[in-house]
Symmetry: C2
Subunit: 588 residues, 2 copies
């Protein structure tokens, strides 16, 4: 038997050589007494030819071969005739003349063709995921995922990090998202929880003195799923001792630079720009701004606070604000009807309406134009850099509504007006996060990141006086409008951690019951430490230019957290439940 080669890796160098190939039948064509087969393996495709002059028996066997049959063939690599070269194929200038064929396995006709573009329903593709995964775009995505994993590991290994495995069967803590629970058989009535992140364990590893930890860690959240959520997801989890915030951020920049170079062959600029949380909200209406396009939000509250337009002036008076977008050169592209649609859109985010002005003939026109005096018009034009042909869109409301609605509108317009350069990879740090967020419904503060985040220098006392104003030693890494990951310095002193739990409304007893082991660990020489966790699936989605997180996970779940391939979850036997001391308690 000749040496085995990969189909897609045959080149002119191999012409004249005897090779063995193993792969799948992409396509068969019978032509002039010959049979041509496109043979596919993980490396690509090459054409193989059955010629009765060479081996009549092989040709006969080839007559039975259909799409997705698995073949092992051997033969000679030859150059194709000039006239038959296929420029769509990397190996299109050669073919293999088959001298021998073994049909390794047959195939039924697959429910959809194994080709790059498909309009098959996603349900069908997920049910036959193993066939969907044969398609080149998915094969390439998982090769890219493999490569990215290795680049990141190599980087961290060179930085003297240790890859360490933390437990999956851990303790349930109600703080945070909803846990996936695992009933214990040995301890009736008790449960493990699957980790939402290795946060506490990695902090304990710092207390242990390992100093530099990483893990490409599976994490679990039982939340209602959106397009960019999965019940289990993978996180690049990093923790270090003795490093400053700046040290950690600089190291992450070097890591990203290396990934972009080795995976995408792109040189990106470091250091990454930094923006404070407050400024990000003000300018982009988002804590994860997509900076690939301008269209920034402009706060015009000061300009319009005394204007005759009551909607504006009263919004400012009642503590809210008025902000606007200048959609450059778009005045004539948006009819009233178009603007009505945008109005409906911002209403989704709680805005009561969308005011607008058009700049034409050096003036501002539109239904609300009459409410502004000459000076106000001039200031609007200056602050929003208005030129003739611009469309100005305004929301006046509570600050949160203004941010959310204009932030969403900005993204919508950016996409629809093709303002986004899809080839760009814009990394951005968002810093100076609030430490706590007030939740009206439950009338308490929650940790904006998690309860182990260090308050900004000097802000500790605010936990007593003005908790909402305390800032955190936190830094989020944003890429193209997606939160890639969140990092922070952590609390490493027991007293501070106690104070934090108190600010979150924990009684001392509750804090001890849930996090006693952490607070005890902080008493035995915990070093200053901090880290970051990056959403790996999402990062791969962006690197691979995919739109759907499911394309980056080998066997993803649907929006109802089902696996259409294996039909998980499924019922289990009464004996299994009995062993776990559980009974079903189904609602009618």
């Amino acid at each position: 038997m000749s040496k085995r080669f990969y189909c897609g890796k045959l080149t002119s160098e191999h012409i004249g050589q005897e090779v063995t190939l193993k792969g799948w039948v992409q396509k068969r064509r019978d032509l002039g007494g010959l049979i041509f087969i496109d043979l596919r393996d993980r490396s690509g495709i090459v054409q193989i030819v059955f010629n009765p002059a060479l081996n009549e028996e092989a040709l006969k066997q080839a007559e039975n071969v259909r799409s997705e049959y698995v073949l092992e063939i051997s033969g000679k690599v030859v150059a194709r005739d000039e006239s038959t070269i296929n420029n769509n194929l990397a190996t299109g200038h050669l073919e293999v003349e088959v001298s021998n064929i073994i049909i390794l396995n047959k195939s039924e006709t697959p429910p959809f063709a194994i080709q790059d573009d498909l309009d098959t329903a996603e349900e069908t593709r997920l049910k036959y995921r193993y066939l969907d995964l044969r398609r080149t775009p998915l094969q390439e995505t998982f090769k890219l995922r493999h490569k990215t994993t290795q680049v990141i590991r190599n980087f961290l290994n060179e930085e003297e990090f240790l890859e360490m495995e933390t437990p999956m069967l851990t303790k349930s803590t109600p703080e945070g998202a909803r846990d996936y629970l695992v009933p214990s058989r040995v301890h009736p009535g008790e449960f493990y929880a699957l980790p939402q992140s290795p946060q506490l364990f990695k902090q304990l590893l710092m207390v242990s003195g390992f100093e530099k930890y990483y893990q490409i860690a599976r994490c679990f959240r039982d939340e209602d799923l959106r397009a960019d959520r999965q019940p289990e997801f993978t996180q690049i989890d990093i923790e270090t001792s003795f490093m400053t915030k700046e040290d950690i951020m600089e190291m992450m920049e070097r890591m990203m630079k290396k990934v972009m170079k080795e995976v995408k062959n792109l040189d990106i600029q470091t250091p990454f720009p930094q923006i404070s949380y407050d400024e990000a909200m003000e300018r982009y209406g988002s804590d994860k701004p997509d900076t690939r396009f301008e269209l920034e939000i402009v706060n015009v509250s000061e300009v319009v606070k005394d204007s005759g337009f009551k909607v504006f002036s009263s919004a400012v008076e009642s503590g809210g604000k008025v902000s606007g977008l200048n959609v450059k050169g778009s005045a004539s592209h948006f009819s009233r009807k178009d603007i009505d649609k945008l109005t409906d859109y911002v209403k989704i985010y709680g805005a009561k309406g969308l005011a607008w002005l058009k700049a034409e003939n050096n003036e501002l026109s539109g239904p609300i134009a009459k409410f502004f005096n000459e000076e106000e018009v001039q200031q609007l034009k200056t602050s929003m850099s208005v030129e003739d042909g611009d469309l100005l869109l305004f929301v006046a409301d509570k600050t949160t509504v203004v941010y959310e609605s204009l932030g969403a509108l900005r993204l919508k317009l950016g996409k629809e007006l093709n303002m986004i350069d899809e080839s760009k990879f814009n990394f951005l740090w968002v810093t100076d996060w609030p430490l706590l967020e007030y939740d009206e419904e439950s009338d308490r503060y929650f940790a904006a990141h998690h309860p182990f985040t260090m308050p900004a220098d000097g802000d500790l006392d605010k936990l007593d006086t003005a908790p909402g104003e305390a800032k955190a030693e936190a830094y989020d890494l944003v890429l193209n409008g997606y939160e890639l990951g969140g990092g922070s310095l952590r609390i490493y002193q027991k007293e501070m951690q106690e104070k934090m739990f108190k600010a979150l409304g924990f009684s001392q007893e509750e804090a001890n019951e849930q996090f006693g082991f952490l607070m005890e660990a902080l008493e035995f020489g915990a070093p200053p430490h901090g880290g970051i966790a990056l959403g790996f699936d999402r990062f791969i989605m962006l690197l691979a230019g995919r739109k759907n997180l499911r394309d980056t996970i080998l066997f993803p779940k649907t929006a109802s957290a089902s696996c259409l391939l294996t039909e998980a979850p499924s019922t289990v036997s009464d004996a299994q439940l009995e062993e776990l001391s559980l009974k079903l308690h189904l609602k009618k």
Copy 2:
């Protein structure tokens, strides 16, 4: 601030240099107005000295410092006086004269000292695992674990394997060990299972054409724990298409050769010896023989089958066998009382007794000696290579009892008589496994490996006629008497898989319900494939020379599957149960 160095990495080269160190106080000694501290970080220890002549303020601060305080110091590296060199420390020939100290954190007195040897109860060490992990032997074990992981990954990456992540929330299948279940909130009454191994997913990846897969995968089994079991464990999981059994075994040998060289700096011999399952049982009474010492089991059934000793002759007559161990030169070391103890030991394994003979003065003596005629004695002496001074131990019973009891006795004697060279790493392949194992209790066959293992060439028909005699295309890798991992070629044709399920007593309906998706996948062009899974925790245990699997896992569970540190598992709230449509059903 001067550059930060690691304590353990300071060498003569650094003498005269200003350095910054960050670490933990191992020990403080006050002597002649000076304070000496052994400062420890993850690299090791160096002595730092506080001298009032240099900085009186620093010395004053050092007076408050106690064990396990976290310090940042800077100072100058100096050579120690000849007379004060500490040869027990890698850095014992130098010390750092402290010019500046920051106490980063304090520490309570730890519940046990951070030193290499400890007799603290394991419960205490597990409760304060983060302190136990500070000890050098554990630090070194996890550094070795990190390194081994990277060597294996690098090897597999070079072999063009793709690292791929399979799901953790999967489908429960009753075949195999007991699953850990995860209740679904979205699908009331339904459950996911945590994977016992990624077996089916990796096979599906072969159907997808990825061809070479690996994963360092977390797996879960809810079994009663033994010293070498944990509820969650890590497995080096490998699967390939188109490779022969020999290809796979040869590749694993190269991988192990590389690990042993890079991690232990040992050159090991390849190819590894191979032994069939039958021969392993016959010669070692074990399917995972420890070949670091001889003491092989000898089958003497043919010799004694007609002897006057009824226990022997009737064992053979009733289809069992008589086998023995020759404990060389030990006749005089074992009193009757000692042999009685060995008899009690083999009874644990179901043996009814232990017969013995001693070779003295060219004769065999002992209570049963009289039953053997001259020829039988001569044949015994020949077959067991008997010399004066040898002790012969025999078990006569059903074959399984003979194997189990003598296999266990062999290991016990090997240890007690110091026959084992602990520096050896003896790899061994065990091949030609039975495909199925008959279980008397449930009166059915079970898969000896798993139901996806390919029958040996030509043995498929035995599934109908003599299932117990069918062999498998399986190969287990054994190291020093531990099963490192099991591999096999897999069934890749639907008809064969159906036949296998039938042999295992599945109705077609049951087979379809549990494994329908696999059988369907085999219909769409599944390639020939096979692989192996290696128990990584156990491998690390052997590489690190540890005796306890818990020493190789950062946060291990106890024998009752509890985490003494976090107190998992624990009770959860009624609201959590309600959301999962579950009720506790506790026995009184």
